[in-house]
């Protein structure tokens, strides 16, 4: 998929199994949203082929998909009940009962609800026609911890009832909730699999130093991505190289290695792709 000279998505293979939650992880501009828009038939690929349920996206495939966009796709000037009724009528099903958790807001205009509740409404509406594939674009973006947890409970429930779930995110905590991840960078798949598969045995260097602020300044000046965990600085690279760097700057530091976490592996993958 090209936008002018920009290759937005290239050679992406993607499979979501029934009952599986797959995370599409990537930085802004990695091609996640473009990819799901192609899957949903909102964008026509400039080359290649998109197939959903084994066929090109069509009216028939739309009936089997539930989608929550970043903007939620709810009508602010309709109540929760009215949004619910609209979707039910669209998919031609006997109107399912509104979830108990939303009963209290049934007659409220969606526009006046807090964002967390709006997201839960959008999710409930998207799954009301029992889709086989659920596509969620940044589902917990902008919501608090409690609301995010509630949403993930609902996502899990949907997967357990047999729906495949595709979640786009750039949030590591959200990504860690997924069964499987597809890491995108520069429009391509940079890594795929479980978190362990994505981390792939990567290690980072841990630096302990009394003058950790100076150590941080030195590492940062080298262009390294530094994570601060308490008084420990974590950076990509080799222990030998970091030790040499500290010595050159006259800093006494204890340098060891440790298994990388998902975020560090992700940063490494993205940097490797650019």
């Amino acid at each position: 998929m090209r936008f002018g000279h920009l290759l937005a998505v290239d050679e992406v293979d993607l499979a979501v199994g029934a009952g599986e939650v797959v995370g599409l992880l990537g930085a802004n501009g990695a091609g996640k949203t473009t990819l799901i828009k192609m899957l949903l038939g909102l964008l026509r690929p400039t080359g290649g082929e998109v197939r959903l349920f084994g066929e090109p996206p069509s009216m028939a495939t739309r009936r089997r998909v539930g989608y929550v966009s970043q903007t939620l796709g709810l009508y602010d000037d309709l109540t929760v009940e009215e949004n619910w009724a609209f979707t039910a009528a669209t998919f031609g099903r006997v109107r399912p009962a509104i979830p108990e958790s939303l009963e209290g807001s049934r007659d409220e205009l969606v526009g006046v609800l807090p964002l967390g509740l709006q997201r839960r409404v959008a999710f409930a509406v998207a799954v009301s026609h029992l889709p086989e594939l659920l596509v969620l674009d940044e589902p917990t973006s902008g919501v608090g911890v409690w609301s995010a947890e509630r949403l993930w409970e609902q996502i899990r429930d949907s997967a357990e009832s047999g729906a495949g779930v595709l979640v786009t995110t750039h949030n590591m905590e959200e990504a860690e909730q997924c069964d499987r991840l597809i890491v995108m960078a520069e429009g391509r798949v940079a890594a795929a699999g479980t978190i362990d598969d994505v981390v792939a045995g990567r290690r980072v260097v841990e630096v302990r130093c009394d003058d950790w602020r100076s150590a941080f300044g030195v590492l940062d000046a080298e262009g390294l991505v530094v994570q601060v965990r308490g008084d420990v600085l974590r950076v990509p690279g080799t222990a030998r190289g970091i030790e040499d760097l500290m010595e050159r700057q006259g800093l006494r530091a204890e340098v060891t290695t440790a298994p990388a976490n998902l975020e560090e592996a992700f940063v490494d993958l993205v940097r490797g792709a650019t």
Partner: protein, 361 residues
């Protein structure tokens, strides 16, 4: 304050549509309306019937423009010519005084015709010739009431304004709210979205129409002598054009401001160019063609014809046909535009090499 002024100029520089409106529109409107705003009538379509039709027709001078002479036709047929809009004046020869029938729905033309007729008689008398006594009779609007003529036209203008403006916000509002994406992934065909958006407004505008016409009849005593069904068909076609135009504007606008700008640009010229106020035949030739692409002109023909003259549907096939064609074109374009923007995959997306794995659950 200067910072705001500079910022405004910078933003304006990038908003080409508003800039064009500010700079080009006044010039365009001045030229357009300057040539359109003309109350003097120079040509009045006239039919002459009865045994001396040819003789009388040869004596008629400008502004009478004889479009037909028929020695075998009678008064009833002459009235029919006026009712069907083929002529504004009909001279019925063969009796004394000679009836000169005039279509009272054409205010300026009738006033001009009356004046011209009086001058012709005076000239004949001055030349010492024996002037034939004439009996001018204004039909359909005997007292030449302006309100009778204006109400059918204003009805159309109000419906055009309300219909186009409201629907022009429909899709663009969904685009701005982000709900358009949701509609696009739902199992709707583009035409279903367009018509789903239009139908509620069509119903409301129809109620509006009934209220406006009823009020016009009650407040101004405007008659309704024709067929309600004929009027209904014409109004329905006109409303489809107005609402369809609104939706088309909505599909080409990026925000509500742009949509309103375009809707106003579509509606305002119709006030002066559709024949609502100024006779189309009096406009400069270069401007007259514009009137013929404006839906309001055709609705005015239907509205005045049916309400005031009782024009039958068979005589209104042309304005009805044009409105139907306009509705098809405008709604078709709206659907095509909507499909291109929001549902590019359709059922047969362009496919080529490099197949991907299915993303099936």
């Amino acid at each position: 304050m200067w910072a705001i002024v500079i910022k405004e100029f910078r933003q304006l520089k990038r908003d080409r549509r508003t800039l064009a409106m500010l700079v080009l529109m006044p010039v365009f409107l001045l030229i357009l309306f300057g040539y359109a705003a003309n109350l003097s009538v120079t040509k009045i379509p006239t039919v002459v019937v009865g045994p001396q039709a040819a003789l009388v027709a040869s004596h008629l001078q400008s502004p009478f423009d004889v479009v037909e002479t028929d020695p075998t036709a009678n008064r009833a047929q002459a009235e029919s010519e006026l009712r069907n809009g083929r002529a504004v004046v009909a001279v019925v020869t063969g009796s004394i005084p000679m009836p000169v029938l005039m279509d009272g729905t054409q205010l300026f033309s009738v006033q001009t015709a009356k004046g011209a007729l009086a001058r012709m008689v005076e000239t004949e008398i001055a030349r010492g010739a024996k002037a034939s006594p004439v009996a001018p009779q204004v039909l359909f609007n005997p007292d030449l009431k302006t309100s009778w003529v204006m109400v059918p036209g204003l009805t159309g203008l109000i419906l055009l304004f309300v219909g186009t403006l409201i629907t022009s916000l429909g899709i663009v509002r969904e685009r701005q709210a982000g709900t358009i994406e949701q509609l696009a992934v739902m199992p709707f065909r583009p035409w279903e979205v367009i018509f789903g958006k239009i139908l509620p407004y069509l119903l409301l505008a129809s109620i509006d129409l009934v209220v406006i016409v009823a009020l016009g009849m009650m407040l101004f005593g405007v008659p309704f002598v024709g067929s309600i069904a004929t009027f209904g068909v014409g109004a329905l076609l006109f409303l489809l054009v107005a609402l369809g135009m609104g939706v088309l504007i909505s599909t080409v606008s990026q925000n509500q401001g742009q949509a309103i700008q375009l809707a106003i640009m579509f509606v305002v010229p119709q006030i002066l160019l559709s024949g609502l106020i100024f006779p189309i035949t009096s406009m400069a030739r270069g401007v007259q063609w514009i009137a013929h692409v404006l839906p309001l002109m055709y609705f005015i023909q239907i509205g005045r014809g049916v309400m005031l003259k009782g024009t039958p549907i068979t005589a209104l096939w042309f304005p009805m046909g044009v409105l139907a064609a306009m509705a098809v074109v405008v709604l078709g374009l709206a659907v095509l535009r909507f499909r291109r923007d929001l549902a590019p995959s359709g059922t047969t997306p362009r496919l080529s090499s490099s197949a991907q794995e299915p993303a099936a659950p």
